[in-house]
């Protein structure tokens, strides 16, 4: 058991972690951030995706004690008050959700993609979300929403 310090969505957090406490468990159970979902719990479905120092990771496979001092971004931190992020708004407008379970992970993978590549091709979007399983939508609306979000971001950057 050790004390872990994290910056989560810009806010400093400290909590006690057992060796087997995953980042996902810490976020959900100890910090009350239930946006990241526990799907397969073996790193195969991507529903627990969060950003660890800007990189997307499956938080179910990250022992919390190993990332002391890290900067974590979750879906809860994306909106600015009532204003959704471009990716969130594009998902909403493009109806890129159905049951919603994969959505937080999809959105975080998309945010990470657009952070490093503002103008991705459709193939690059496919690649970026290839670790996120969706069983409802057939992916098409999700891919289109991410391309739409990329355009919104580029328009926003011009202003």
């Amino acid at each position: 058991m050790r004390i872990v310090n994290l910056k989560v969505n810009g806010v400093g957090q400290a909590f006690l972690a057992r060796p087997e406490t995953t980042l996902l468990l810490a976020l959900r159970e100890q910090l009350g951030l239930t946006g990241a979902k526990r799907g397969c719990a073996q790193g195969a479905c991507g529903s627990c995706t969060v950003l660890l120092d800007g990189e997307p990771v499956v938080s179910c496979l990250v022992p919390a004690a190993t990332v002391d001092g890290a900067d974590i971004a979750t879906v809860e931190g994306l909106a600015d008050g009532e204003k959704l992020s471009d990716v969130q708004q594009a998902f909403l407008d493009g109806f890129a959700t159905q049951c919603g379970f994969c959505t937080p992970g999809m959105i975080m993978s998309a945010e990470a993609l657009l952070d490093r590549n503002p103008n991705p091709t459709r193939d690059e979007v496919n690649e970026a979300i290839s670790g996120n399983v969706c069983r409802c939508t057939g992916y098409e609306p999700i891919v289109s929403a991410i391309l739409d979000a990329a355009e919104r971001r580029r328009e926003g950057a011009k202003l």
Partner: protein, 339 residues
């Protein structure tokens, strides 16, 4: 190596609900003191949007905004009875029950409003934004929040309603075989285009074109998504998912749980176009039939037919793996040589 193109189609008639011992669903609705309407159901939304569609049915019938409707799919121990979420029955059965309950609640709501406005309930209408008003005199109106307060604290009435939709058990007529097992049927057709690699046996689905006749599309956005998401599942069944060749004899090789199934990812998605035809069903909620399970069905035989068109191999067992395609191509070559 040659990439062989083929095109195939398949159509499906799909029943809404089932027969067995009768197919009922119930709904209860009541107004809160704040003027919200709680719809209590035992039906479960698996993620396909039942809660949205039945909220639309309740709001439309009550004449209230969607925001005033709360769908509570709480607990099968305590809620009104529902047979369950299966057989593409939710929208049809539960929607009908909700409409019936909302009609009864609407009558009480108008009675309470009539008392408050000192007019006849038959002369009242709803404006869809939360007001009950006098026909032809829209200034004479009262908001649902005031109607609800009056019902609870002045008039002592419960603005509530009961609904049930029962598809009664139906038996065939012995002489003719005629029967009505399912109340209505939806129809669909899918055209698939595939490419078959005659060296590796790999099948790639290039496009799917879907047409669905589903009565009234209560929520066209969700219908389109149901069609294309379902078609993706069809593609998955057709050329990816399998527990073979080892199931169930050996667990040493092959998938041992769902997460190890081969499933198409975003890069394997074919181009899709979807068209919705609306021919309202007389017994459906606002004319709707069921669309759900059927969306995975038509793509599978359409893909099988497209493979046949591409390379002459007739496959009848899913999934259509590279191995089964190659064995089929080999068999045809052997037949041609021996002929």
């Amino acid at each position: 190596m040659t990439l062989l193109r083929g095109r195939g189609y398949a159509s499906v008639n799909y029943p809404t609900g089932m027969n067995l011992g009768g197919d009922p669903s119930q709904a209860l609705i009541h107004a809160t003191t704040m003027g919200g309407f709680v719809v209590s159901l035992s039906s479960v939304d698996l993620g396909q949007g039942l809660k949205t569609v039945v909220a639309q049915c309740a709001a439309e019938t009550l004449g209230m905004p969607m925001e005033n409707v709360i769908i509570d799919t709480a607990d099968t121990d305590t809620g009104p009875h529902c047979m369950g979420t299966f057989a593409s029955r939710g929208t049809h059965r539960v929607g009908n029950a909700v409409i019936m309950a909302a009609r009864e609640a609407r009558e009480v709501m108008l009675d309470v409003a009539a008392e408050e406005l000192e007019v006849d309930a038959g002369d009242l209408e709803t404006d869809g934004t939360g007001y009950v008003r006098l026909k032809g005199s829209p200034e004479t109106k009262i908001h649902i929040s005031e109607v609800a307060l009056a019902a609870h604290f002045k008039q002592g009435k419960s603005i509530s309603g009961r609904g049930i939709y029962l598809k009664e058990r139906n038996y065939p007529v012995p002489e003719t075989g005629e029967m009505d097992p399912d109340s209505c049927q939806a129809h669909a057709c899918t055209v698939a285009e595939v490419e078959v690699d005659d060296e590796t046996g790999v099948v790639t689905v290039l496009s799917l074109h879907n047409t669905y006749e589903i009565g009234r599309a209560l929520n066209p956005g969700m219908v389109a998504q149901q069609i294309e998401g379902g078609a993706w599942m069809g593609v998955s069944h057709a050329i990816f998912e399998s527990t073979e060749p080892y199931y169930p004899a050996s667990r040493d090789h092959g998938p041992v749980d769902f997460s190890e199934y081969l499933m198409p990812g975003p890069a394997e998605i074919p181009v899709q176009t979807s068209v919705i035809l609306e021919r309202p069903a007389s017994n459906g909620p606002f004319g709707a039939k069921g669309i759900g399970e059927m969306t995975a069905n038509a793509p599978i035989p359409a893909i099988a037919n497209a493979i046949f068109d591409a390379c002459g191999v007739r496959l009848t067992t899913m999934p259509f793996t590279p191995e089964s395609v190659l064995r089929g191509i080999d068999a045809r070559r052997d037949d041609a040589l021996s002929a």
